[in-house]
C-alpha cells in the first residue's frame, strides 16, 4: 500500500481530499499506528483479502479496510462489524460492481443484530438513522470509504448514481430490541440469538410512512399494513415496475405493538405486506408503459416476488412514523437480503493508544 507524507495532519487532510479519498467530509488521518490498531482488532494478517471489489477489481485487504475505518472515525472494536459487512457486500449475490455503477441511488443498509450491536453502542431507537450516534455513523462511513477507495466508486466517473442520496454517506442501525415484540431479524433468519450478525440490503433512501392507531378499531392493524404496503408499491419505485428485489420496512415500536396486538408475528407481517403491496397493470401502464409489460389492465401485480423479500425491522422511537426503504431491484441476483455472521472470536484486545 502506498504511503503519503505530509508536514502535519491539516496538510494530510488536504491531500486526501485532493486525491478523492474522502467522502467530502474531514477524515481522521490514517497514520500507520492508527491503522495497525484497527488491523490488530481483526486478529487477521494485514494482507488477508476479503475478496475483489468492483468496479475497480481491487483486493479488499484487511489493511485497506483498516485504513478506511480509521478515516471514518471507527473505534477498533467496530472492525469485526465493518469486515462482516464487507464480506456480505462482496458475496456474488450483492452484485456490488453493478450496484456501485448503476444510475439508481442504491446504497447498503447495514443492520447489526446480536451482542456486538449493544457492545459497540449501535443505536436502534430515536433518530438511529440520523446524526449523533458514533458507531452507526462511523461503521457505515467506513464501508462507504472502502467502496470509494477500494472499489473505486467515484461520482460521475464510476458511481453513476444520477443524484445519489444521503444514505450513501452511512446507513447503519440495529433493531430496537428492547421494545420489539418479536425476535431479532437475525434469529428469524435462522441465527442463534447469541450470534452477532450483519444484515445487508441495497436500498433507496428512507420513505416516511405516517399512521395513527385506533385501539377501538379492530381493523387498525390492517390499515397500518395497507399504508405500509402502499409505500412499498409506490409507483415511482423500481419494485413497483420491475416487480423484483427486496425492501426493508423499519416499523417503529408503537406500530409494531399494533401488529402484535392483532396477533401478528414477523412472518405474518412479511406475508401480509407482500400480499397487499400491489398495483394494477393498467395503472402502471399509464405511468411507465415501457415497464408495464403485456397483459390485462386489471392484472394485480405484486411489487415483490415473495414474503421473503420483505426485511421487517423494529427500529426507531415509538410514534406515528414508520419507514419503508424501496430498492434498486436489479443486478443479476435482483437485490437480495443478505446475512453474514460477525467473526469476533478472532479479534484481539487493542491496547489504548499512546
Amino acid at each position: 500500500m502506498s504511503t503519503l507524507t505530509a508536514v502535519d495532519e491539516a496538510d494530510a487532510l488536504e491531500q486526501l481530499h485532493r486525491l478523492g479519498c474522502t467522502d467530502g467530509l474531514p477524515v481522521v488521518i490514517p497514520t500507520p499506528e492508527r491503522v495497525a490498531r484497527c488491523v490488530l482488532a481483526t486478529g487477521a494478517d494485514p494482507t488477508t483479502s476479503l475478496g475483489v471489489m468492483g468496479p475497480l477489481s481491487a483486493l479488499t485487504t484487511i489493511e485497506r479496510v483498516a485504513t478506511n475505518a480509521v478515516m471514518a472515525g471507527c473505534d477498533p472494536d467496530h472492525m469485526p462489524i465493518v469486515v462482516a459487512t464487507l464480506r456480505a457486500l462482496l458475496r456474488p449475490e450483492y452484485d456490488l460492481s453493478e450496484a456501485q455503477s448503476t444510475t439508481h441511488s442504491t446504497a447498503p443498509l447495514i443492520v447489526v443484530s446480536g451482542p456486538l450491536a449493544s457492545a459497540c453502542g449501535i443505536a436502534g431507537g430515536f433518530g438511529a438513522l440520523g446524526p449523533g450516534h458514533r458507531a452507526n455513523a462511523t461503521i457505515g462511513r467506513a464501508v462507504r470509504l472502502c467502496l470509494i477507495n477500494i472499489g473505486g466508486a467515484r461520482p460521475g466517473a464510476s458511481d453513476m448514481a444520477l443524484l445519489g442520496q444521503p444514505g450513501k454517506f452511512t446507513m447503519c442501525i440495529t433493531e430496537n430490541s428492547a421494545e420489539s415484540p418479536w425476535e431479532p431479524c437475525s434469529v428469524a433468519a435462522g441465527f442463534d440469538p447469541f450470534e452477532s450478525v450483519v444484515t445487508v440490503i441495497g436500498v433507496e433512501g428512507p420513505h416516511s410512512v405516517v399512521f395513527v392507531d385506533d385501539a377501538d378499531d379492530p381493523d387498525s392493524a390492517l390499515r397500518l399494513l395497507r399504508v405500509l404496503a402502499r409505500a412499498i408499491a409506490n409507483p415511482g419505485s423500481n419494485n413497483a415496475f420491475m416487480r423484483t428485489g427486496s425492501v426493508a420496512v423499519a416499523i417503529n415500536p408503537d406500530h409494531a405493538a399494533v401488529l402484535a396486538r392483532a396477533g401478528l408475528g414477523r412472518a405474518d407481517v412479511q406475508r401480509e405486506l407482500h400480499r397487499l403491496a400491489t398495483n394494477l397493470r393498467g395503472d402502471l401502464r399509464e405511468l411507465n408503459p415501457a415497464f408495464a409489460g403485456s397483459g390485462d389492465a386489471g392484472d394485480e401485480l405484486h411489487a415483490l416476488p415473495s414474503p421473503d423479500h420483505v426485511l421487517v425491522l423494529v427500529a426507531g422511537g415509538g410514534g406515528l412514523y414508520s419507514t419503508v426503504f424501496p430498492s434498486w431491484s436489479a443486478g443479476a441476483h435482483l437485490n437480495p437480503i443478505l446475512h453474514e455472521r460477525i467473526e469476533a472470536d478472532q479479534a484481539c484486545e487493542v491496547p489504548a493508544s499512546g
Binding site: G54, P55, L56, A157
Partner: protein, 73 residues
C-alpha cells in the same frame, strides 16, 4: 466485440474496460439519451451506427477509444 457507450458514461466505460482486464476493447461513443428518444430517432441512430460497428469488428476502422492503463490491485 464492440461496446456502445453513451457520452456521460464514457469515463465509466474506460474504468470498466480497465478493471476487467480489457483496456483495449473497442468502444463507440453514442449520444445521450438513447432510451426514450423515440422510435424514429433510434432507427436513425442504428442506421448511422451499424456500418461503423461492422467496420470496427472487421478491423477496417478504429474505435473511438484510446487504450487505458492496467488496473492497480
Amino acid at each position: 466485440m464492440v461496446a456502445l457507450v453513451s457520452e456521460p458514461f464514457w469515463q465509466q466505460g474506460d474504468l470498466i474496460a480497465m478493471s476487467n482486464g480489457m483496456p483495449d476493447v473497442p468502444r463507440l461513443r453514442l449520444p445521450h439519451p438513447v432510451a426514450g428518444s423515440g422510435t424514429a430517432a433510434m432507427i436513425a441512430l442504428a442506421a448511422k451506427l451499424t456500418p461503423r460497428i461492422i467496420a470496427v469488428l472487421r478491423g477496417e476502422q478504429p474505435a473511438d477509444n484510446e487504450p487505458v492503463g492496467a488496473p492497480s490491485t
